[in-house]
């Protein structure tokens, strides 16, 4: 059974006369991975900062497990990875995590966490002398250390190599499956497509689109495939039947708009076979999350 881990209601954050977050409203359930995406300056980090108690809200309310941000009982249950900073530059990773572990009642084993994230616990290197990716992993280890019920990650995969990134995404998916609520901000939209249960798209301080990845990319409404450019779109649309339109957004990439179904896939491949067309990458959900975010955040003409 899921419970609400985070409730954000009508949140407003202003810096002087500038409104960074404008009446944002959402909630995160236990076990749910929620991605907060949008361009730079959209208000993502300000939203996270209010939720983690680092910044007061100008208006609206935020509750974590029914308590206000910054409440001591809340701070014992959350893990936070900040976008910038958050490490003692002169400290060694194991020393830093061992100290942090003493602040929590049931922390994870610092050595295990570091090893799992690809940092040698015995390293004598101070964090300031580590690469950006290594620093990122130490910060992530610090966020995971409390074994949190609610995890805030601001750009967690920035600076990670592909293998470390995949490992991290698998770790997060595992935590979500175990009941941890996770809210992450990122510009890596393929990461979001892989692991997010719910997506919040922000632009200019407002939520401009929300939904599951499937809902946003229209997995039931679009089918895409690749084939040599110059197909006869009119005959394809006619042969697919009423209710379907076919477009070629980019040369060699085709988009069928209409209710996706096994019958549609059968008709499409049959048409290709009849017409000697070698189609590849046939998939439901022809739009990417990137398309959605760009479209949702474009200023109105």
């Amino acid at each position: 059974m899921t419970k609400t881990a985070l409730r954000v209601a009508d949140l407003v954050v202003r810096y002087g006369g500038f409104t960074a977050v404008d009446r944002v409203d959402f909630s995160v359930e236990t076990g749910q991975i929620t991605a907060l995406v949008g361009p730079n300056g959209a208000g993502k980090t300000s939203t996270i900062e209010v939720c983690t108690g680092l910044r007061p809200a100008t208006g609206g309310s935020v509750a974590l497990f029914g308590r206000p941000p910054g409440d001591l009982s809340v701070r014992a249950r959350i893990g936070v990875m900040l976008q910038t900073g958050g490490l003692y530059p002169t400290a060694k990773p194991l020393d830093w995590l061992t100290y942090l572990a003493r602040l929590y009642s049931k922390p994870a084993d610092p050595r295990y966490l570091l090893t799992r994230l690809g940092i040698d616990p015995k390293t004598r290197t101070a964090t300031r002398r580590m690469s950006g990716g290594e620093q990122q992993r130490v910060k992530l280890a610090a966020a995971l250390l409390p074994q949190p019920d609610l995890l805030f990650l601001d750009e967690p995969t920035a600076g990670l190599d592909p293998a470390a990134r995949r490992e991290l995404l698998e770790t997060l998916r595992g935590l979500g499956d175990e009941g941890t609520a996770i809210i992450l901000t990122t510009h890596q939209l393929d990461d979001v497509e892989q692991i997010a249960d719910f997506v919040l798209v922000m632009a200019a301080g407002q939520l401009v689109a929300t939904g599951s990845v499937a809902e946003l990319i229209g997995v039931d409404h679009f089918t895409s495939f690749r084939a040599p450019p110059g197909l006869n779109l009119a005959t394809l649309a006619r042969d697919l039947g009423a209710g379907f339109a076919v477009t070629q957004p980019r040369p060699g990439q085709y988009l069928v708009t209409g209710q996706a179904s096994p019958q549609l896939l059968a008709d499409l491949t049959k048409w290709c076979a009849t017409n000697g067309v070698q189609a590849t990458e046939i998939k439901a959900g022809g739009r990417t999350l990137e398309d959605i975010v760009i479209q949702a955040t474009e200023p109105n003409p």
Binding site: T52, L54, L72, S73, I78, G85, Y88, R102, A142
Partner: protein, 243 residues
């Protein structure tokens, strides 16, 4: 959840570890006082010899560890975002400040022990009231720490570094420590006597050199320290920013 005291202890230990592994801090807190005891105690540069030198160097130890070292370390912790991250953990602001204070007090105590032992080795004969000296040292720590935290919390790290070192040098040379206010021209001496450095050095010299028969002599320097300490604490509370 871990207890409040356990978290305070954890943070005290963490601060101590950072302090004792930092070469610049060790220079400020241990090496400079030792060099000054040797320089002032073994030369005729300062009237009063080693007896006079110890009270001055104890003041310098407190100034170095509770003001300069604390301000610089805290300023850089702010810049690195470490304090900001800690604000999301169960460590409260009060526990963090308490941990910092205890670590600073322990380092100051260690520094003072080194100074006193070195002084005794060089022929210093401590007199006066040690319990009173400890009380004054605590007041001096509070006063300088409040200003150190105010500075660290209000300025950028690079500015903290410059100002903390600048103030340290200025107080050392012209703040009534090496040259007592009574030895300066009258007007200047009166003004400098109202600096916390002069007040602390004056109090230590009154207490440590011999039995203090007239406690009223302590009233002015102790009041000066208290006023500076209260002002620093108010300013730190008002202007300290965590990021």
């Amino acid at each position: 959840m871990t207890s409040s005291w356990a978290r305070t202890r954890a943070h005290t230990g963490w601060e101590l570890r950072l302090l004792l592994r930092n070469g610049e801090q060790l220079l400020l807190v241990f090496i400079i006082p030792v060099v000054l005891v040797l320089a002032l105690g073994l030369t005729s540069f300062m009237p009063g010899g080693i007896d006079s030198a110890i009270s001055k160097v104890l003041t310098i130890s407190i100034l170095a560890s509770c003001f300069t070292s604390l301000a610089i370390a805290t300023g850089f912790e702010r810049r690195s975002g470490a304090l900001r991250f800690l604000a999301t953990t169960p460590l409260t602001r009060a526990q963090l400040l308490m941990g910092k204070s205890l670590a600073t007090a322990i380092v100051t105590l260690l520094s003072a022990i080194v100074v006193v032992l070195l002084g005794i080795t060089l022929g210093w004969h401590p007199g006066g009231s040690w319990p009173l000296a400890v009380l004054i040292a605590v007041l001096g720590c509070f006063t300088f720490a409040s200003w150190g935290l105010f500075l660290a919390g209000a300025l950028r790290a690079e500015a903290v570094l410059a100002v903390a070192n600048g103030v340290f040098l200025a107080l050392l040379l012209f703040g009534g420590i090496l040259i007592a206010p009574s030895e300066l021209p009258e007007v200047l001496g009166v003004v400098i006597a109202f600096l916390p450095s002069a007040a602390l050095a004056d109090t230590f010299s009154l207490i440590l050199i011999g039995p203090l028969n007239n406690l009223n002599l302590l009233l002015q320097p102790v009041a000066v320290l208290m006023v500076w300490g209260a002002a620093g604490a108010i300013l730190a509370r008002r202007f300290f920013r965590w990021e």
